[in-house]
Symmetry: C2
Subunit: 366 residues, 2 copies
């Protein structure tokens, strides 16, 4: 089978192995699903009801412009609908954005250890990735900007708050980045975890600012990961560009209904954010009781520093899995001294509390 030259040169790899795949490999379900930063607190009950009710209309294609949701988001963010593009989650939107902006050979800058799916899309469209190290377990705006200037990058990727470390920058740090961006370079600001962050971490950016596109999702705080729906905020020209290449009828109709109802229930969102804060503290306490140190987090997960190297942490992740706990960890040194534990209801964290010392004990006796 002869593929086109670009995909012919790509590996047949997958950025993430999902928990169901791991469960099939181990032959048993996980007792605690703490690896994908999903929200086991679930979506708003109103969103769940809206989705169940929408099943009666699932024989209809979804509304291509996601009109109702786009307008509700415009109200929510005090923007124009022309600033908003609804898509199949941030993963889907990042793929469309990279395709829109990057020709083969174009430079793209990100942090070494940041979101692998973004890198996957860049490689998939022939972009050349340049990676700068994290600094103090946070993405490093100065280094990203310097590398972008040095390489003539067309995109800089920055997640704020960050995944996988949970760290964050204050809003003015982000807006200052915009003033130092190279000409013709767009900041891709991944705000998947924004709802969990302090207000000070949300930069004040004009809706029509052409220097940045912001990615938001219903997969995290809104609890709709399986629905595959998110949105981009950006200048109208950029947002309109998506219509040149996107799969117009690609958003699931139930997801549209669920997201609309979820957005309207900000009370549930506040409830989840509070539960997540409680869970973060609990994860930190469980870690501390076992010699692991929680890094500060503005997300729905906690990076626990093992104070050992990546090999140790990788073995610990495997041992946790053997004991029924699905977790993940950063992929590169020095971040990979940590394991990453998603916030979850307390009964799942009870499992983690039970399993962590046993997994550590397994490692000690090897």
């Amino acid at each position: 089978m002869r593929f086109a030259p670009l995909p012919a040169g790509l590996p047949a790899s997958v950025p993430f192995v999902g928990p169901e795949t791991l469960e099939r490999q181990r032959g048993a379900p996980f007792a605690a699903r703490l690896g994908a930063n999903e929200s086991a607190f679930g979506p708003s009950p109103l969103a769940a009801r809206a989705m169940r009710e929408a099943v009666g209309q699932v024989w209809k294609y979804g509304d291509a412009p996601s009109f109702d949701l786009t307008h509700a988001l415009a109200d929510h963010h005090r923007m124009s609908p022309a600033n908003i593009m609804v898509g199949e989650g941030i993963d889907g939107l990042l793929g469309t954005l990279v395709r829109l902006m990057i020709a083969p050979g174009d430079a793209v800058v990100t942090s070494d250890g940041a979101y692998p799916t973004f890198n996957y899309h860049v490689a998939g469209f022939g972009g050349v990735l340049h990676k700068v190290p994290y600094r103090n377990d946070a993405e490093d705006p100065e280094a990203l900007l310097d590398r972008a200037h040095a390489t003539g990058a067309r995109l800089i990727y920055l997640a704020n708050p960050d995944n996988p470390m949970g760290s964050w920058h204050d809003g003015p740090v982000i807006t200052a980045m915009l003033d130092r961006l190279p000409d013709d370079c767009l900041l891709v600001l991944d705000q998947a975890y924004a709802e969990f962050a302090p207000a000070s971490a949300i930069p004040d950016i004009a809706a029509d600012d052409p220097r940045v596109i912001r990615m938001r999702t219903f997969s995290k705080a809104y609890g709709l990961a399986g629905a595959r729906i998110g949105y981009a905020l950006g200048a109208p020209d950029l947002i309109a560009g998506f219509d040149r290449i996107r799969n117009h009828f690609g958003v699931n109709r139930l997801a549209q209904a669920g997201a609309l109802a979820a957005l309207a229930d900000q009370g549930w969102l506040a409830h989840v954010v509070a539960e997540v804060a409680t869970a973060r503290d609990r994860i930190a306490a469980i870690g501390a009781a076992n010699g692991l140190t929680a890094l500060p987090s503005a997300t729905n997960f906690v990076a626990l520093d093992t104070h050992r190297g990546g090999a140790f942490a990788r073995t610990l992740i495997a041992a946790l899995a053997q004991h029924g706990v699905f977790a993940r960890m950063p992929g590169v040194t020095p971040l990979d001294r940590c394991i990453r534990i998603s916030c979850a209801p307390l009964h799942e964290l009870d499992v983690f509390e039970d399993v962590l010392p046993r997994a550590l004990s397994d490692l000690a006796t090897r």
Copy 2:
């Protein structure tokens, strides 16, 4: 905003304007939704129940390989799971396929008037489209093959049964095409309407045949258009290629549950196919009573020949919309002498029966 050269050269157009958009433009809902070949007969009640139940798990990302559904499809089609790729509907799968196979400048052959979304994807990845005319209101295998040989095409698109005309070729015509395919050219056999077709229209193709990829969907006979789920059948090397570029977690979790339950309820499928046959006859009778002639159809829609030109048919579509009936029509001459009416429950066809003579009367008095 400077886009990459390829998307910069694309129009900001949309292959289809959806019915909700038209409803917003006209300021009222349609009384009959007969334009998108959806199935108003709905999905299996068991599929609907499975989706409602899956809402409780929607906080989880879907299973990236769609393992359960892929294995059920393998059983259903008596193939290996390695022959099957589940994706976000045929639209999504076609986009991924074109990206996998077509480099800028590569030739692709289709029929003039065939599925616009395929053409949209080809243009979107820089392919050069070559179109051959329909012959007797059917796609023309010989002309497609001749053009493919002449242009060195890498893909030939053929829908069997065809959309928008509803015509079909017998299976042996398709398998004979495979023997005449140019080297290095893949037949894209769109079987979106296969479940409505006579068994004789389904070609007998070996699962591992590397010359063809078949596209199937849950959007039509299975009644799950809004769920965005379909699948490709092909040789393992080709199917594995999708994993190089696809959005691995892009399939909605509720869609996976719904499709699995829908596939298991072949009794409901048979019920829908029978209802569609009844509706086809009814549409033909309504057409005949108004001087329009139904073309034979192996799909869930009927092309009604107006015996006038495209300008007349376009005006008729607009008049039908004014009277509350959403329908579409072929885009090119001579197919555009027809309007295309989707099969639907009889109460919706009652609306069509009431409106068609009034719409025709509007045209006559202009």
